[in-house]
């Protein structure tokens, strides 16, 4: 990665920053995939009495939003996003138990998987990580997931959102099969269905009666938030 700045901040002491500066610095460190710095920043904010939920939303989620936007705009690419997501994950590990204890509000719950016959993992995992980064609870079913597995997971976890991924023109029609199963069970309208993957487009999503096609992970997060507001009246 190119780095235009000079290195005078190499020895920046996170503790010397104000709360606001530190929250912003955590965002910068996330952007640069600096895991240890993110963890340290999160710990300092907690020491200073910040609510875990505020650390999550004002530092981590806000930071990941910039990562997501720059990914969408073709400024960041997969390696930078993965490093940022790894740093995010390290911060989340500290926050997760505290968030449960404090009964913090949740952005929503999502079940996600790559559909049957398709073994592509990378894009779907990025969506899962960005959704976690946005404060959603994500149940990742992995690859080659059939309708039965999707339905079982929906029954078990009661998610607000179902995300399906397909990278092959030969597997994308299977999304329709899953949606038809949801319709048969009469639960289609209880859940937001988002679909994504390189060969898809909006027309396809409409044709199979998904709620939305998401071009990339950042769009998935924005769309999820928007539809959560509209459909479940949950705002984050």
């Amino acid at each position: 990665m190119s780095d235009n700045d000079n290195n005078e901040d190499d020895d920046l002491d996170l503790r010397s920053l104000t709360d606001e500066e530190l929250a912003e610095q955590i965002g910068d460190d996330l952007y640069d995939g600096l895991k240890d710095e993110v963890v340290e920043g999160v710990e300092i904010l907690l020491e200073r009495g910040w609510q875990p939920y505020d650390v999550l939303t004002k530092a981590l989620v806000a930071g990941m939003k910039i990562v997501g936007d720059d990914f969408r705009d073709g400024i960041l690419f997969v390696p930078e996003v993965l490093l940022a997501a790894n740093a995010m994950k390290a911060g989340m590990e500290i926050l997760r138990p505290l968030l449960v204890e404090t009964d913090a509000p949740k952005a929503g719950k999502m079940v996600i998987g790559t559909v049957k016959g398709d073994i592509h993992d990378i894009g779907k995992n990025i969506v899962a990580m960005m959704m976690e980064g946005a404060g959603f609870e994500v149940i990742n079913l992995g690859i080659n997931v059939d309708a039965e597995q999707f339905l079982a997971a929906i029954e078990e976890h009661k998610p607000h959102i179902l995300g399906m991924s397909a990278l092959l023109t030969t597997t994308m029609p299977y999304m329709k099969t899953v949606i038809e199963e949801l319709e048969k069970k009469g639960i289609r309208d209880d859940i937001i269905v988002l679909v994504g993957g390189a060969p898809l487009n909006e027309d396809f999503a409409e044709a199979i009666r998904a709620d939305a096609y998401c071009k990339d992970a950042a769009v998935a997060v924005d769309t999820a938030r928007e539809l959560m507001k509209r459909k479940h009246n949950i705002s984050t």
């Binding site: 920046l12 600096l34 710095e37 073709g74 016959g117 592509h120 993992d121 030969t170």
Partner: protein, 345 residues
């Protein structure tokens, strides 16, 4: 006809036609989605022979073996990781036999696709050494089966490509190496590699040829070709575009690229400086035959501009950051937003 070396044939012709889609055509023969095509080298060799013969008859000078997903990491997903040597060697022999029977020289390219794993340098788990080892295993088997060139394709990561090239040098030192990447994300690969960076990589590693394959349709691919031929005007650049983009029609997926467009694409690829031209997903025998006709009759024209490409082949799908986006939903300053102070650990 006895086999001809790629460099000799290239020198003689100045332009070579590669083949078209493997997956798309095998699906029409009943390959189930998600089933690894490489297993058909063993189970349905007649279909693989049909595939190669179809492209030879269409006029291809280079045919790619059915071994794209033949590395242990891809085969592992189907519990076939112990069959790397067998399946790749069979792939090479199937293509090789038909090349030898062809009435004119046909070069057999050993297709090597990505592992599907992300290397450590990009935030993944696969080490460089593990990648080299997996590619070496696959390429050694392809070489044993008699390929004429190692054909590394649809790559997105420079490190992974480097691993494949290193493996080829190690286990098949006598064979030329070609590497093509898929520039499908804002004018770069999904890992952020720009076409000009591949040109530099290719020169640094002494690749026989390099270029673009797959991705998001012919117009986008040709922009990448233009960038590469600009960065390396004397190099042999490969163009292997998809036949348009997949569309969902009446429950089926069809590629939007017509046979006529394939001819237009081939001529524009030539004028853009590509010297090995072929197709990727969605390209049938007819598409490749049309490319042959178009190229044989082609009167070389001026180097096309972006506007020429869009006018003749259709709109660009993926806009590079900083390029004015016609869809208008997200303008950006093209500079990136790394604007604040940062520190290192």
């Amino acid at each position: 006809m006895s086999r001809t070396a790629l460099d000799a044939l290239m020198q003689e012709r100045g332009l070579l036609l590669a083949d078209g889609a493997t997956g798309t055509n095998l699906f029409m023969q009943g390959l189930e989605s998600g089933y690894p095509p490489e297993l058909w080298n063993d189970e349905k060799p007649d279909v693989i022979r049909w595939l190669h013969q179809g492209f030879i008859d269409a006029g291809s000078d280079i045919i790619l073996t059915n071994s794209f997903g033949g590395s242990r990491y891809r085969l592992m997903l189907h519990g076939a990781q112990d069959r790397v040597a067998e399946l790749n060697e069979k792939a090479a022999r199937l293509a090789g036999t038909l090349a030898e029977q062809a009435p004119r020289p046909v070069v057999v390219a050993g297709s090597v696709g990505p592992t599907g794993e992300i290397l450590q340098d990009a935030g993944g788990t696969l080490t460089f050494e593990e990648a080299v080892e997996a590619f070496a295993e696959q390429i050694a088997a392809l070489a044993e089966g008699g390929i004429d060139v190692v054909w590394i394709e649809t790559m997105s990561s420079t490190e992974e490509t480097r691993a494949a090239v290193e493996a080829a040098r190690k286990v098949a030192p006598g064979l030329p190496v070609v590497a093509t990447m898929s520039f499908d994300t804002a004018g770069r690969t999904m890992m952020g590699v720009q076409p000009a960076a591949l040109a530099a990589f290719a020169q640094e590693h002494g690749l026989f040829a390099f270029g673009a394959n797959c991705g998001t349709g012919a117009p986008d691919l040709l922009l990448g070709v233009l960038e590469m031929t600009e960065a390396a005007p004397d190099a042999i650049v490969v163009a292997k575009a998809n036949a348009g983009v997949p569309e969902f029609k009446d429950g089926d997926i069809v590629y939007s690229g017509t046979v006529e467009l394939a001819g237009e694409y081939a001529k524009m690829a030539f004028d853009a400086g590509a010297r090995i031209i072929g197709g990727c997903c969605g390209n049938s025998f007819d598409h490749v035959a049309e490319m042959r006709r178009a190229l044989d009759d082609h009167t070389p024209g001026p180097r096309p501009t972006r506007e020429d490409v869009e006018a003749r082949l259709g709109p660009i799908q993926q806009q590079a950051a900083g390029h004015k986006c016609a869809h208008g939903h997200h303008g950006n300053d093209g500079e990136g937003r790394r604007r604040r102070r940062r520190r290192r650990g």
